[in-house]
Symmetry: C2
Subunit: 147 residues, 2 copies
């Protein structure tokens, strides 16, 4: 009977990563959910709220609340959609863009701390192993979601 050696490590990894993420977000004054929206908005470019809801896999109502908060703190801006008068376009403000840039810099420095001093070939191998596991995990989640 197989002990969950790998799975346990992945769970601990998840815990630690969330703690690290929360800490780094404290630095910019954001919650994880709001930071996630900001991040996604930067990837997508200006987007309507229902597009954000799809991207974040979250209800439209939830997006309303997150955008309310982010707009209230000056990270994003709502403006009317040019051709669809039902919709609103959400855009990063300057402050929002600077914040995303800071988050990106934080990731780069986290990456550096993680791989520093490790042989490049070893990193390559680890990444290949992770990719295999990621592929299977995606499968597991999708299989469970569809039927």
């Amino acid at each position: 009977m197989p002990e969950p050696y790998l799975f346990d490590r992945l769970l601990e990894l998840t815990l630690l990563l969330q703690q690290d993420l929360a800490r780094s977000l404290d630095g910019v004054g954001l919650t994880p959910a709001r930071a996630h929206l900001l991040w996604e908005l930067d990837q997508l470019g200006p987007a309507s709220q229902h597009v954000l809801a799809k991207a974040l896999q979250v209800s439209p109502r939830n997006v309303t609340g997150l955008v309310d908060a982010l707009e209230g703190h000056g990270y994003v801006q709502r403006s009317p959609h040019p051709s669809d008068r039902r919709a609103l376009v959400v855009t990063l403000t300057d402050k929002g863009e600077q914040t995303v840039a800071q988050m990106q810099a934080d990731r780069v420095s986290a990456e550096r701390e993680l791989v520093e001093g490790i042989d490049a070939a070893e990193i390559e191998q680890l990444i290949r192993g992770l990719d295999t596991v990621l592929g299977r995990l995606r499968h597991m989640v999708e299989d469970a979601a569809s039927p």
Copy 2:
């Protein structure tokens, strides 16, 4: 300038694992926080609420709420502490123990799906790589927490 190749993968892993966990918890009718308490309680054996609060790194008030819910659904039971009349001892009921057993079985089967058909030496290598990363992550989180 180093791209966060590794870090990005770890983040995706975290997302997928949370989705998989939520799905598997739906199967037993629990939320992640309640399942976590149940899991920890099984590890610790019968424990007072403040011990649980320490173990889960969560406020005592939070534990009160989680135990309220779990007791209401018949997963755990509160009983008076034998020697300290301020304290309550929380114990898994039969239903609680069966639920934890189911969660353990789910982990084992997830492990199997993840490693099935992969060469044992390759798994070993992946686990060694993960352990290195885990060690560094623990450091990063601790360093940030202490000063």
